[in-house]
Symmetry: C2
Amino acid sequence: MDKKLMNISISMLLLRLLEEQDRYGYELIKELEARSENVFSLKEGTLYPILHTLELEGAVEGYEKAAETGRTRKYYHITKKGLKLLAEKKKEWDTYQKAVNHVIGGMEYEYSTEYGTAAWGF
Amino acid sequence: MDKKLMNISISMLLLRLLEEQDRYGYELIKELEARSENVFSLKEGTLYPILHTLELEGAVEGYEKAAETGRTRKYYHITKKGLKLLAEKKKEWDTYQKAVNHVIGGMEYEYSTEYGTAAWGF
DNA sequence: TGACATACCTATGTAAACTAGGTATACTTA
DNA sequence: TAAGTATACCTAGTTTACATAGGTATGTCA
């Protein structure tokens, strides 16, 4: 468990996006904005240090790759360790979520078997 | 919205407990532990400063009251301002929760009309 | 009587995330 | 073609929620 009460780390969200496919920093920011409908709008100053830390921890691996435009981007790939970390963080989030809802009351929920259910308005 | 991404404050949980009835500090800690099944276990060093801040902000009002044992306790009462703050924080939490789940995927939920539903295992 | 639970408090530390800058390339449009 | 905007990466310094680690004092139970 994280020390910081109810502080679900951004890294969980980033790892989740990298679980799907390799992505570069700027792309992660835009994708996160899109999926969260602008609830999560990371500044570069927030994102890049986190990515560097994740790389140091061995949760992701960065590599340079040229875009179609010729411009070089730094892509990140999630490692086995990263996948494990993601699973842990998801479990933590679930625990916190349940506990908070239990305290404030009034919310019922259940898991669905697939990513992105009708409940989310897809 | 709070600046701190996904950092849902403890104050929301405390205000929620004070919404039900006046309580004293130590009681809040124990009640929070009980309701969250020990997920949230505040240290006194965490709780009391938060209560003092909430009082300074006018969200709660403290008053001394003797317990049956004769011992004096400091009870806190939630104010109108506190109730408003709680409502805001609940809304924030709901927004964050939805956004996180939207990103990590796979969770469906709906509101129930009453506090404490069967889904929570009461 | 000595340990433990209750009940309150403050000073200091830590780390996640933000603020506020910086650099440089590609695209768009006036 | 110049200027503005979007893309794409980076670091130093700051903020602040919460934890750590201490303190005091009363009530209870073995």
